[in-house]
Structures are given as C-alpha cells and as structure tokens.
Symmetry: C2
Subunit: 274 residues, 2 copies
C-alpha cells in the first residue's frame, strides 16, 4: 500500500473498496452547423445544431469555434479584385512571390512584418499573433477563387459576445475558445492555437505547487487554451469534413472573466528565437 | 437545401429523416497507474489499470503515455552527486546559472547546443527535439532532491515496444504516443509534444484535397501527433494529479507502421526563426 499524502491517483490507490473511475473528457463535434453567412448569430446556430444532434449544453462546457465561421458571420470576406495594392505591397511583391493584393491585405492586418522570404511573409497580427499571411485564408471562403477571409477584428471580443449570447439563449455559463491553424517554428506541420477566449484562464499554473514527491515545481505553466484548440482540431478536421464547432465536456479549468488570448503571445523581448 | 457534393456535414444536412449525431472523441485518464519503477512493464501496468477502472482497450485506441513513466521504467534516473562535470560543462556554468552537473547531463543528452542565455540552455536532443535542458526533469523523480530524470533513449522504439506488448496482452492493435512538455518559441506557456509514436502517421495531410467549395488546399498539413499529445495533457494535469496515461477513443487517423516522431522535428535548413 502506498503511503503518500492523499491527493490524486495515490489517494485513490489507498482507498480500499472504492470504485475506480478513469477521468473522462468528451469532445463532441457538431456536424450540422452548415454554411455561415454575414450577419448570422453564431451562438444561435450552435444552440440549434446542438439540439438537432442531441447534445446538451451545460454549465462549464467549453465551446471551441473555428475563427473561420466567426469571421464569415462578421463579413470579413474580401474580394481581391476590389483591393488596390499600395506602393509598399508592390515593393514587397518583388521579394515575396505572392499576389500584391493579398500582400496589401496582409500589411493592413499586421502590426509589423517579422520575417520575409521569397515564400513566406510572417507578421504580427493586430491581435499580436505571429503567423504567416496575417492568418488570411484562401480556402473555405465562398465558391469564388477571388475571395479571401480575414481574421475577426477582435477574437476575444467575439468570444465574449458568443459566451454572453449562449447565456441568454440557454441560461448556461460556458467557456468560448476561438481557434485558428498555424505553423510553428522548429516543428513540422500545423496545429490550432487559441486566438480568442472568454471565461477561462489561458494558463494552468503549476509554479509553486508540489509534485507527487513534494518537489516544488518551478517552471510549469501550461498553455491550456492552446491545448484546448489543438484537441478540438482533432475533431474538426478540415475542409470537406466541415466541423467548425466542438463542445468539450468534463474538463477542469480555472474560470476567469478578464483573461484574453493575447496573453498567449510572447512579448518580443522574451523571444529566444528571432 | 444545400446543393453541395455529398461529403461530411453538407451531405448530412441533405439526408432527410436521418438521425443527426455529433462526432465524438473520448479521453480517459487512468488514475491508478501508481508509481513506476525501473524494470516495470508499462504495457502490463496500463492493461491492469484499465481493467481496474473499467476501461476496455479496443482496436484503434490511442494510448498516450507521458515520457516520465517510460523513462522511469527504463531506469533513466540519475543521481547528480554521481555526475562529474566535464571541463565544457564547467565553462558553460560560468554563463548559464545552472548546476554544472546538470549541464554535464544536458550536454551528454544533446546533439548540439542551439541557444544559451544566463537562464536557458536550449539544445537539440539526441532525438532531434529542440528544447530547454534536453528534456531533463527534476520533478516527480523520487523523493530525493538530488535526482533527475533523463528522457528515454529512443522514445519511438519504446512506443513500438509498448504497442507490441499491448497486442500480446490484449490482442488489440493500438497506437502509442509518448509525450513530453515543452515551451514554444513566440508563444507563452508550455504544451505537450509527441516525442515517440507507433502505429500512426504523425501528420494529417490535406495538401491536394479540396475544401467545402472545391478549392484545392495547398499548405495544410496538421501535426496530429502533437495535437494528440496536447489533448492528452488536458487530462493528465501534472504532479499531484498523477495521470500519466490517457486512452483516446473515437479518433480517425492514418495508420502507419514506419512513421516516427522525428518527422515532427523541422530540419534546421527550414528554420525561419533561429
């Protein structure tokens, strides 16, 4: 019999006669959201789809929503033929092999350009995320090749709005996490990150807590909002699969009204890789 | 009624009379793994814990295992007092404020040092992961402050071994993902990455496939193994919570016998941030 202080697994091992139960989290991907149009009420669409698919929305649920449908509801579709590239965009187009009109939009969406190569424009977006093409998306926009989709102007504000609206519609307190897909320095492939949050602290902070052996943990501070985004992407898939909303049930998290996803952006002064 | 080609959500919207069902993934965290010792059979421990907690192991399940318990089973605990720092470690200790014996272990575990600051040593580990301290862990080792835990020597090989052993014990074909927690350039906080995999392709490749509107996706290649690791961390928690194994059910993935987690490490020639 283990003789550790009561907490977590160890205490459960010590409790004879008790039933053992695995800790469970469920991810439910809504399949009937359909195509979202400008002006649509995302919260209402989610509540309707959940009902149709026999998913109850409960207090404490986490609603993970791809930024694509939030952006569409906000009318962030831009027709490239209506964009007039600035002199700066035209100059950059000589270095970066991209449509100067797209470069113009990237510049408008950016606080600053972080990196340029013939194939990449990495910028810091107005929300502070460092990513390629300012998160502008050419897929899943409309049937027209000429259109692109910008990110929502303020994903944190959108998350708060959807959270409030879900409360109005259902009476339930949920967390909202708005996500987008990005590449990562040093690592191959892309994953989803949280770019807007409401109702949750983006970090799970273990600093100062003790581990199984009483050792004080010094550095661990988990980016739980990014892990939530990555987990939801597993269900969302992409493109033809069309699951833009995932409801997560059973996850423990720290509630917070004031946190936002900008806290996940490392300030440039702390960058070890530049 | 939507008039898109039958696939995913859209086709489901078009099928009148059919029951709608949300797509579901479950994550089950095993709470009764207990403390792992050198020589322990991880697969056997998992099978026993699953049984105790009434979790069936099925074909296609994904077993996510923290590298900590794999390393412990492989006897990768080192007593610092038995480490003699080399001249190089002592020289580095003048720049980096860390125990020279720990620096010695970091150097032994590294292919090369990528970055040094007074507070950080970032190396490329023998497995090719770029991370702080070569993934050497000071928490959750034993009761002794003097001990540290190195990563498993070959996490991919360990993943394959555990997968084979699960097959022997249960007759089931599972995927194994071995994880560790790392910081990320440009992003605050840490997340779990996949450092060893067996039975799964680490990427979900959308390049060349078409989206809802028939637009050909050009760049999307999702690091599904890293997303699996991040998702499992949500259940694992840390330290006092003690959930070192998570079983994921219901996830679609591409089977592969030959893939390994090294493919997730971006080759240095492709680094935009250095």
């Amino acid at each position: 019999m283990l003789k550790l202080k009561a907490s977590g697994a160890s205490s459960k091992l010590a409790l004879n006669g008790d039933a053992y139960m695995a800790r469970k989290i469920s991810l439910l991907g809504l399949e009937t959201i359909g195509i979202v149009h400008e002006g649509d009420d995302i919260a209402e669409i989610i509540v309707r789809a959940a009902k149709r698919e026999d998913v109850t929305i409960d207090d404490g649920d986490i609603l993970v929503i791809t930024s694509k449908i939030v952006a569409k509801a906000k009318g962030r579709i831009i027709k490239l033929r209506e964009v007039k590239p600035s002199r700066r965009a035209l100059a950059i187009a000589k270095v970066v092999k991209k449509d100067p009109r797209l470069l113009e939009l990237i510049l408008r969406e950016a606080q600053c350009v972080v990196k340029m190569t013939p194939k990449h424009v990495i910028v810091r977006t107005r929300h502070g995320v460092v990513c390629a093409n300012a998160g502008i998306d050419k897929s899943n926009v409309t049937g027209m090749r000429d259109s692109v989709l910008l990110l929502p102007e303020d994903p944190d504000a959108e998350a708060r709005r959807i959270r409030r609206r879900i409360k109005e519609l259902t009476g339930k307190d949920v967390v909202v996490v708005i996500t987008d897909t990005y590449g990562r320095p040093l690592r191959e492939g892309q994953v989803d990150f949280a770019i807007g949050i409401a109702g949750i602290k983006p970090f799970k902070d273990y600093r100062g807590s003790t581990d199984l052996f009483g050792y004080v943990l010094r550095v661990k501070r988990i980016a739980i909002a990014d892990e939530i985004a990555a987990a939801a992407e597993l269900v969302m898939g992409n493109g033809a699969e069309g699951i833009p909303v995932v409801i997560i049930k059973g996850l423990n998290y720290e509630e917070d009204e004031d946190s936002n996803a900008r806290e996940l952006n490392m300030p440039r002064t702390k960058w070890l890789f530049r």
